[in-house]
Structure formats: structure tokens, C-alpha cells
């Protein structure tokens, strides 16, 4: 039976704004499949975003949705989650939104281990504003603000959030739709701060100035260059150059913020 996306999409909000060849729509589908698979109530999900192409996603979903300011989605989401612990809070973000302007909120949400799921639509470029260099753009790549080749080393988002304390960290690509869905499910059900770094393609703003140019070729690379983390661990660093390491990197149970606040701090304060 075909999956009923209509159940989760707001009437009259499509077509979406994403360009032909963009992977965002595919990732959104995987997210809806994950939510459906978990049998979550739409009333109990808040989807929050900042600014950028990916940030338009919440508007399409028939849930509690919030399209905030650039980089600040996690801050707004923290308020939502802490004020109403009943809500599952999902933040969708671009790589620039999450790791450049929103970098401070990213590391602190990870440190706090607050019960929020962050999905990064990581296409290595600022798409909406026209192809400027992002904190994830590979060295040497051409961007409108790095016309002679990027000299800014990129972040490895997985390492960044792991170092900052996230308790569930995974990576996949927009090509791996089944893995996307599986990882989203686990991330949403994880108790603590969970991050899924989804390697995505922007043919219009990244592809046009770099190689390969076309969307199908970019997606082919996602397929060919991916290597599961278990296999990658057995390889030498030089063998992993240019590879996309996928799978679950971190999964651990540690006290989470909202839970601790309500179950430890409030009783402690009320006892005094």
C-alpha cells in the first residue's frame, strides 16, 4: 500500500520551494515515514527550524510548527521542550544554520543533553542565499564567496556534536532513504539530544560550480562513497579520504535535561 503522506502534509502548502534535484524533499519523506512508523500523535510533535532552504520544512507539516530566526531554532526548541515535556521536539536545520550562526546553540544543546532531535540537511553550501561558503564546504570547492577555492576547513558535524556531549549521533545520506527513516526513528525515541547528519545535495548552488554538476551524479556519489561506520573503523585514515561514513556513532544513556529538571530540581526546590 502506498504511504499516505497527505496524513501529515498541510493542505495547500505544496508544492514546496525546493529546487529540482534537491534532496530535502526525500529526507522529509523519510521523516514522515519515521513519525508514522512510531505512531506518534501529530498534536504531540513540535517541528522547529531556523532560516534557509531546509527551514521551510515545518510549514508543510500538519503539526505544531515554528519557523524562527537564523541559527536559533535550538534555542526556541529548548524553550518549547522545557515548558512542555509532553512534546517530541524535532529541529530541522541546514548546515550553515546549525553549525555556523547556530553553532553556539548546537554545542550547548548537546552539552545539556536536552530531549531534542536535530536533523541537519547537510548540503555543504548556503543554498537559499546563492551558493556562499558554508562551515561544511570541502576544502578547495568553489563557492560564490570562495571563488578561488575554499580555504576554510569544514566541520565534521558528527565529531563536533559528539565532542559537545550529544548522546545519539548518526549520519546518513539523502540517497539512503531506508537508513534515514531508521535513524530518524531511533533519534526521535532517544532520551537526550540526538543528531542525524544527513548528507544532501544542492545541484543548483553547489553542483553548478563544482564536480559533479548534476543531481543524479551527486546522488550517485552519496551511494558510492558511503561506508558504514563499522567498516570504516577497520580502515586507515588515508583510505577514508572523500568517504561518507554512515551509521550510528554514539548511542548512550545519560541523564537528560528536562527529565532531570522536572524529576530532580523541582522536587528538591519544593522540599526546601
Amino acid at each position: 500500500m502506498a504511504f499516505e503522506y497527505e496524513k501529515y502534509i498541510r493542505k495547500g502548502t505544496l508544492p514546496h520551494i525546493w529546487c529540482p534535484g534537491c534532496g530535502h524533499g526525500i529526507v522529509m519523506k523519510s521523516l514522515l515515514r519515521a513519525i508514522d512508523g512510531l505512531k506518534l500523535d501529530k498534536n504531540d510533535i513540535a517541528v522547529v527550524s531556523g532560516i534557509g532552504c531546509a527551514s521551510r520544512l515545518p510549514g508543510y507539516l500538519d503539526m505544531n510548527t515554528l519557523h524562527t530566526t537564523h541559527g536559533r531554532a535550538l534555542a526556541f526548541a529548548t524553550g518549547i521542550r522545557l515548558a512542555n515535556p509532553k512534546l517530541k521536539v524535532i529541529v530541522v536545520s541546514g548546515d550553515g544554520d546549525a553549525a555556523a550562526i547556530g553553532g553556539n546553540h548546537l554545542i550547548h544543546a548537546a552539552r545539556r543533553n536536552i530531549e531534542i532531535t536535530l536533523i541537519v540537511f547537510n548540503n555543504s553550501i548556503y543554498g537559499m542565499t546563492g551558493g556562499q561558503v558554508a562551515p561544511t564546504t570541502p576544502l578547495g570547492a568553489i563557492a560564490t564567496t570562495m571563488p578561488y577555492g575554499n580555504i576554510d576547513p569544514p566541520f565534521d558535524l558528527v565529531k563536533l556534536v559528539e565532542g559537545a556531549g550529544a548522546t545519539f549521533v548518526a549520519r546518513t545520506t539523502s540517497y539512503h532513504t531506508a537508513q534515514c527513516e531508521q535513524l530518524f526513528k531511533q533519534a526521535i525515541m532517544h532520551k537526550g539530544f540526538s543528531v542525524v547528519d544527513v548528507i544532501d545535495a544542492c545541484p543548483v548552488q553547489y553542483g553548478r560550480r563544482n564536480k559533479p554538476r548534476e543531481a543524479p551524479d551527486m546522488m550517485q556519489i552519496q551511494k558510492d562513497n558511503s561506508i558504514p561506520v563499522q567498516l570504516a573503523q577497520k580502515k586507515k585514515p588515508e583510505e577514508l579520504v572523500g568517504k561518507i561514513i554512515t551509521g550510528i556513532f554514539v548511542k548512550k544513556e545519560l541523564p537528560s535535561y528536562t527529565d532531570t529538571y522536572y524529576n530532580t530540581i523541582i522536587p528538591r526546590a519544593q522540599a526546601k
Binding site: L66, R72, T78, G79, L82, N84, L87, Y261, Q270
Partner: protein
């Protein structure tokens, strides 16, 4: 039994006022001279089941209170100049999306890092126009410890009732000084909660006012209550979704700004002191008004009929009282701890009917009654 009077600071009074008003969520970042508000709520809010979180920065604090407010909780933050600057983008988001929240700005010497423990009233214009674009905002400026309590309650009430962020503009002097206060009993002051929608969820539009009992103010649903709605900082339609339709954009902006005009009377508060027979008008607010009141008393002892008009609500600014004052006094003096901000509004309202003079200091010292008296006497000689 007589109620017990307490000796507390302005920041402590603000904490008590917020709790009286029913604050449920506080997010903040440490900054002098406002930190005691965060510390007080960190201690007290969880006792009431509320949440206090110290965020990673001022921007995040502002974001967090907006998120919390969207779940239906009364929310606030407190800061000072540099932090108030950082909050401006998200404050604009709250204003545009009509999200109730209270932002305390304990003014300190500026610009930039300025004087963290030095008094100032330099954020009058920033409180009104700090964030980009035309937007509605309210700013209240109490000048005593008991009034900080009542104005904090009123800040929440205005914000909840009209869905407008309210800035409580304190200053280092009144925040850190101590005065006697007797807390009002529960029920003694009105406490207002935001209007909830009465339509079923499938008919709810977050910015639709067509069936609202309060003109121009849309009822506000909360996340997680079955009302699934969208909120965006983009120009939006009454159903919350983005639009590029210029006509709709203009209509919505006029509506949200229109709330200030329509409800100005309810928001507006002044204190008139010895104005009835006044020949010289002093227009003041906050801590400078304390010096002004003293100056009025002293001048009267010396036979000079001065009177004071104190603005408790700074924004929206109501010029009618100035207009009347300007017709009957010889001149108006505006003492303020900045290089002349409120005076711009006073001049505008006076419309040239009388001369308006500033008494200003930016040397991180308070304005002394003597500063005002000297100015008044000097000007009186010339008449």
C-alpha cells in the same frame, strides 16, 4: 493583623512581581546589573513548578522564552544594555508574531560595554526601535521598589492581554537600591491570562481577529493542545503561512501596530505631581523622576511653582498630557540620564508651544535634584 513590610531591592521586587503575575518560565544569561533577577527566579520558580534555565547566551534566552510562551506559559527574561542589544532580532520575532513575553532591561551606562555598574537611562529609544522594521512594543519605566512590583505585574498583563512583548525598563539605581514594600495579597492586583481560542482546532487561524472579543487581538492557542498552527518570522497571512501579497502584508502590519493606538489608554500610565498650578513643567521617568520630585518640593519652598509629569509608560508614548502642559507652563525641563532621548518625544508633543530644555548626565552619576533646580532657576531668570 498588619501586613509585614520588607526591605528589598528593585531586582528582588521584580522577581516577586513576576511570581505574583504567574510567571512560569524564565530564561536568561548573567549580566550586571540584572543578575539578581535570574538568581531570584532560579531559587523560587521551581518551588512553583516553573522553569528557570540559564541559556548559553542572550540570543538563546530570548528564543527560549518565545518557545515557552508558544506552549502557553507566561515567560520572561532579564538583561542589561549589551544583552538587550543581542536580544533584538528575536524580540522582533516575538513582536511580529504577537508572542506574549516580558523583557526586563536594567539599563546601565553605555554605549557598548560601557559602565556595568553605572547608572544610565540610555536605552529609551532602543526599547522602542531596537529591532529592525516597524513593530509594536510596550515599555514601562517604574521608579520605586513598590512600583517595580506593580509594573512587573502590569507588564505581564499587557503582554498577555494584547499579545505584545513588554519591556520593563529599569535602571541600575532603582534595581539595586532598597526600599520598603508590602506585598499585595493574592487577588488584590488584577492578573490577566491570554485569550484562548474558542473555535475548534480545524478552524483556528493564529492571526485571525474576525471573531475575537478583543478587537485587533487574535486569541492564542498553545502548542500541544490539539491546535496545530504555524508561526514564522516571514510576512504571514492570518493563517500563519508566508505570503508575498503586499496588500495582506500591509494589512497585518497595520493591525499589529494598531493595537498600540487602540489600547493606548489602557497601557498608558503617568504620575502628575504638583501640576495643577505649575508654571514650570518637569517631565521625567525612572530614577531621574525621584530627583525631579525632590527638586519640585525644593523649588516650591523657594517660591518657584514647579510641577512634574512622570511617564510610567514610555512606549507607546502619549503626547496629549505634554500638549496640555505646554500650553500653560513657561518652559519644560526634561532630566534624563542620557544625552537627550525622551526629550525628543516631549518636543514633538509640545509642538513648539513652549521651550523644552534637557538636563543630562552621562558621567555615570545620578542626576541630582540640585542639577534640575539650577537649570530651572537659570531659565527662570531669563523670562
Amino acid at each position: 493583623m498588619e501586613k509585614k513590610a520588607l526591605l528589598i531591592s528593585g531586582n528582588e521586587s521584580c522577581v516577586e512581581g513576576a511570581l505574583y503575575a504567574g510567571v512560569q518560565f524564565y530564561a536568561g544569561y548573567p549580566i550586571t546589573p540584572s543578575s539578581e533577577i535570574a538568581e531570584g527566579l532560579a531559587k523560587k520558580l521551581p518551588k512553583y513548578g516553573g522553569v528557570m534555565i540559564q541559556m548559553e547566551d542572550e540570543i538563546a534566552s530570548m528564543g527560549a522564552i518565545i518557545g515557552a510562551s508558544l506552549t502557553g506559559k507566561k515567560s520572561m527574561t532579564a538583561t542589561s544594555g549589551p544583552g538587550f542589544s543581542l536580544k533584538q532580532e528575536n524580540l522582533g520575532f516575538a513582536s511580529f508574531n504577537e508572542i506574549p513575553c516580558v523583557i526586563v532591561n536594567v539599563m546601565r551606562g553605555g554605549p557598548s560595554t560601557g559602565a556595568p555598574t553605572g547608572p544610565s537611562q540610555g536605552d529609551v529609544m532602543q526599547a522602542r526601535w531596537g529591532t529592525h522594521g516597524d513593530h509594536p512594543i510596550v515599555a514601562l519605566a517604574p521608579n520605586s521598589i513598590p512600583e517595580i512590583f506593580t509594573e512587573t505585574v502590569r507588564a505581564f498583563n499587557i503582554s498577555e492581554k494584547y499579545r505584545i512583548p513588554v519591556v520593563l525598563l529599569l535602571d541600575e539605581i532603582i534595581s539595586h537600591m532598597r526600599e520598603k514594600i508590602t506585598f499585595p495579597e493574592k487577588g488584590e492586583l488584577e492578573v490577566i491570562d491570554r485569550m484562548k481560542p474558542t473555535v475548534p482546532p480545524d478552524q483556528y487561524k493564529p492571526f485571525d481577529v474576525s471573531n475575537s472579543p478583543l478587537p485587533l487581538v487574535p486569541p492564542m492557542a498553545a502548542y500541544g493542545t490539539g491546535y496545530r498552527f504555524h508561526v514564522t518570522g516571514l510576512n504571514h497571512r492570518t493563517d500563519g503561512f508566508p505570503t508575498n501579497n503586499g496588500e495582506l502584508i500591509e494589512k497585518e502590519l497595520h493591525r499589529i501596530m494598531g493595537k498600540l493606538d487602540l489600547y493606548k489608554k489602557d497601557m498608558f500610565r503617568t504620575e502628575a505631581y504638583m501640576l495643577e498650578d505649575a508654571e514650570i513643567g518637569i517631565v521625567a521617568f525612572g530614577s531621574s523622576a525621584r530627583a525631579a520630585k525632590y527638586a519640585v518640593n525644593e523649588l516650591r519652598k523657594q517660591g518657584i511653582k514647579a510641577g512634574m509629569l512622570r511617564y510610567i509608560t514610555l512606549w507607546p508614548f502619549e503626547g496629549a498630557a505634554i500638549e496640555m502642559l505646554a500650553q500653560k507652563v513657561k518652559f519644560i525641563v526634561v532630566p534624563e540620564l542620557n544625552m537627550g532621548q525622551l526629550i525628543l518625544e516631549v518636543e514633538r508633543a509640545a509642538q513648539g508651544r513652549t521651550k523644552v530644555y534637557g538636563v543630562n548626565r552621562v558621567n555615570i552619576e545620578i542626576i541630582h535634584p540640585h542639577d534640575i533646580m539650577e537649570k530651572v532657576k537659570e531659565l527662570s531668570h531669563g523670562i
